[in-house]
Symmetry: C2
Subunit: 232 residues, 2 copies
């Protein structure tokens, strides 16, 4: 009997060991290695994953003590999809947009450069190479966090709706920034909830360094809306 118990314990330990080793090798859990600055093909989201919605809401909070390690490709992929991904065949998104005009461009700032999210193809397109997180971060732990999302409004979408009254309405600076900010708030809340269920840290921030705007070189029709810092 004692021998049987011993064998059982050894087998259990072995299985636990193998399982732990497999977990470490699971590419879903490995931090990304950003050795080259090129288009990043994002993984399709696992639509069955995450806590029950109400549990996710009960756990939602802001965190500011980020570690420096990169996110896994799975986490990066699902964060982008949650933020501004397409959830229907007609291209409509996980977050709504006022008048369905979708004025936002979502930039992902990683350690090796600035990328633009292309929701239709679910990829990150390289824009400016180099580590520019100092310009996107706000406080020390944010400057070295692995991911910043920056939501920029492009108001050229707001100027040709085909309805003069709506075009006029959308020329009022306070209206257009209200609409773009409402859009962005929907996006960043999705990321908050995703982070809450995955044990990832995140916080939204109302400003970036002026140099960041200059670096992107965007014209007068563009306005910074909000940034969101994410990491383990």
């Amino acid at each position: 009997m004692k021998k049987k118990l011993f064998v059982f314990c050894m087998v259990s330990l072995l299985i636990t060991g193998v399982s732990k080793a497999q977990d470490d090798l699971n590419p879903n859990h490995l931090p990304m290695e950003l050795t080259t600055f090129e288009t990043i093909s994002l993984q399709q989201p696992d639509l069955n994953s995450g806590d029950a919605l109400m549990t996710a809401m009960s756990k939602r909070k802001s965190d500011r003590d980020f570690q420096t390690g990169n996110l896994s490709l799975k986490h990066l992929s699902e964060i982008l999809w949650a933020a501004y991904g397409s959830n229907r065949e007609d291209g409509k998104k996980t977050a709504p947009s006022a008048l369905a005009l979708y004025p936002l461009n979502v930039y992902a700032i990683l350690e090796n450069g600035i990328y633009l999210y292309d929701a239709g193809n679910h990829v990150l397109i390289p824009v400016i190479e180099g580590d520019h997180r100092e310009l996107a971060g706000g406080f020390p732990a944010a400057k070295t966090a692995p991911l910043h999302l920056v939501f920029m409004a492009d108001y050229s979408n707001y100027q040709n709706t085909g309805n003069d009254m709506i075009d006029g309405f959308l020329k009022v600076p306070q209206t257009r920034v209200r609409f773009a900010s409402l859009d962005a708030g929907h996006c960043t809340q999705n990321v908050y909830l995703y982070c809450a269920t995955e044990g990832i840290k995140t916080v939204v921030r109302g400003s970036v360094e002026a140099g960041f705007m200059e670096l992107l070189g965007l014209g007068e029709n563009h306005e910074f809306i909000v940034a969101q810092t994410i990491g383990y």
Copy 2:
């Protein structure tokens, strides 16, 4: 054998019938009867309920074809909690607020009056009696939908942060409407996701009738941010 099968079928039908009858009597599923205009004590949310988060995001969408029937108290209660409820003992919320200043007041427009949500006590406080949904709705089916949430900013929260630089920053009209709109977008996205998992219809709207603002009689420090219509 045939007799056994017959008995089995009859018992199954009886059980199904009893179960259906119990379901109909379940107060969680009954529409509210708003016979008196008084404080509504909301139910505590079921924090284990809802689809997996990623499923909820995959189902999120806007609907505009509302039926007229009232929501159940359970749905009303969980919608308010999702929108702007407290999820921690220190009073912090299901949705973040820029600089933790919480400028929003959330009004619930029901068929018998306008209520203000008190998140601390999780109750709806009666404000103005009467059916004012015509002023809160935008299109015919919205004017008779059972619930409108209206998010109003009260900028008096923005004037005494104790930091002159921040106070100055928050006096800029475009900054303060951006911050209040980001806050509100977080709230309305939670409601979108809740509705997606509960099979409830919802849409956000960027304006209400001018008469609605006059009815509330709010001063110059207040600004309309967004409305959200909800129903079966």
